[in-house]
């Protein structure tokens, strides 16, 4: 009898529609703990929806979604909060709270969801801001930050509760090559230091080749390729080969 650890995230025949538009169609995949999965696909093929389904901001029409040992599609309230605490989500546009300073953006979840003292909250927020290179900007408002800084701030907020699973929606979109590489380095550092599971939605093939242990390719709501970069390079799907070749 093998003793395989449960997957960090697993989709079991998941479908999701918005009105008549079928966005995800019978998708099954799993991501092991500590693994980095990059999801590639053309715009509107359900990549961001996949992330929102994982963190239960959306519910699937059919299928089951597992986060470690928990099936989350029927969870609400405190149970769902417990599961979400395991995850952090970096939004495409960072989704920083625009009425709060950068420091308060990070302190808010710590103050509300942990029993930490104000000194501990400040220490942790400063530490994470330091990790993403924003220690000197903690009193700035989100509107005062550049695109790259906002991404790093969004990443800092996603990391502040020390999630076991980090979801990132287009972490390098709108950034120059150097800044995008810095974001990739931060993600890789998080994986290496904390064995964090990474699920990254991206159009950046260079970044995906660097960060991903495995790649999943979505096309018209279907999973058309799934495997290592080399496997997807040799996939039967034209779309997958075209996307991964950049």
């Amino acid at each position: 009898m093998t003793n395989t650890p449960p997957a960090a995230v697993a989709f079991d025949h998941v479908s999701k529609s918005f009105g008549p538009k079928l966005v995800l169609n019978d998708v099954s995949l799993s991501v092991s703990a500590g693994e980095a999965l990059c999801i590639l696909g053309r715009s509107g093929t359900g990549k961001s929806v996949t992330l929102k389904l994982i963190i239960s901001l959306l519910k699937p029409d059919q299928g089951k979604i597992w986060i470690e040992q928990d099936e989350v599609t029927q969870l609400h309230g405190a149970e769902l909060s417990r599961i979400r605490r395991k995850m952090g989500l970096l939004f495409q546009d960072a989704a920083l709270f625009d009425s709060l300073t950068l420091y308060d953006n990070l302190a808010l979840p710590l103050q509300r969801l942990t029993q930490k003292t104000p000194a501990e909250v400040e220490f942790l927020a400063d530490k994470v801001l330091g990790q993403v290179g924003l220690a000197g900007d903690k009193l700035k408002m989100p509107s005062e930050l550049s695109g790259g800084m906002r991404k790093r701030a969004g990443l800092a907020r996603a990391l502040v509760l020390e999630p076991r699973i980090l979801l990132a929606d287009e972490p390098s979109s709108g950034l120059d090559r150097i800044t995008a590489s810095e974001i990739d380095e931060l993600l890789l550092g998080q994986k290496a230091e904390h064995n964090t599971t990474l699920i990254i939605v991206t159009h950046d093939v260079h970044g995906a080749r660097r960060v991903a242990d495995r790649v999943a390719v979505l096309d018209q709501g279907r999973l058309v390729a799934h495997g290592t970069v080399a496997e997807v390079d040799n996939s039967e799907s034209d779309v997958a080969r075209h996307l991964i070749s950049g």
Binding site: I55, R84, F91, L108
Partner: protein, 253 residues
């Protein structure tokens, strides 16, 4: 027509959820105080200025008529009755609906469009309890306080207008203003503004929080918040006056 019933049902459910969540821990004391300050600071100057101007103008209008009948002595009484019973609560409600309701609708709709609400949820923070409930509570508590400012700035405006014409002393003006008023006339209309505040809070947070139309939804949420809050305030005013007369018959003059 079915759309009206659908919206009414959704808003009613939204309001019920807000009431239940307001009494469910953890309580959002800090957020409520912050929102109360926000509602107050946004509206206070407007309420005081409007009250003062309305008071002055109303005195000018009523004076010419009452002097004809030799009843200029009752100008302060008419002024006080008009403001405390009706003008103060109603105008404050409409001003706050325009000033604060549109702001709440736009802010929440913008937070929805820029995924800030999803951001809260992703951090396991109950966005409804954190964003909606404090705003509704703040509107409910702020309206009676703002109505007091409206009432007294209206009387002040009336006094200055009267003083400029007849040199009536402040003491005599106040004594005549409150001669026909009892506490039973004062409390029910002032407290009915809690209902107005609740309505403004519910309508504006509903349209802001539930919008799903991106940037376009921000403008629509702001407009819907103002229009429907204002209409609802006028409708509630009629219903509440009947209710007040029924529950507090002594308040009917």
């Amino acid at each position: 027509m079915s759309n009206v019933f659908e919206i009414t049902g959704k808003v009613s459910f939204f309001a019920l959820r807000a009431v239940v969540d307001a009494f469910r821990p953890p309580f959002e004391g800090g957020q409520i105080v912050r929102q109360l300050a926000e509602v107050g600071s946004r509206s206070l100057t407007l309420v005081i200025a409007s009250g003062f101007a309305l008071g002055a103008v109303m005195t000018l209008h009523t004076r010419s008529t009452l002097v004809t009948f030799g009843a200029s002595a009752v100008i302060p009484t008419v002024q006080a009755l008009a403001f405390i019973l009706e003008i103060g609560p109603l105008v404050t409600g409409l001003l706050v609906a325009g000033r604060v309701g549109s702001g709440i609708g736009a802010v929440l709709a913008n937070m929805r469009a820029t995924e800030q609400i999803d951001g809260l949820e992703s951090l396991s923070i109950d966005s409804f309890k954190f964003l909606v409930v404090p705003r509704i509570v703040a509107c409910t508590l702020a309206l009676p306080l703002l109505t007091l400012f409206m009432d007294f700035s209206g009387l002040l405006g009336g006094f200055f207008s009267e003083y400029a014409t007849s040199r009536l002393s402040p003491q005599l003006y106040l004594s005549r203003a409150f001669s026909a008023l009892e506490w039973s006339n004062f409390w029910p209309p002032t407290l009915k503004t809690c209902v107005f505040g609740f309505a403004i809070g519910v309508i504006s947070t509903f349209f802001g929080y539930t919008t799903n139309e991106g940037a376009q939804g921000v403008g629509r949420a702001a407009t819907n918040s103002v229009v429907l809050s204002s209409l609802l305030i006028i409708l509630l005013d009629v219903l509440l006056i009947k209710l007040i007369f029924f529950v507090f018959p002594e308040s009917a003059l």
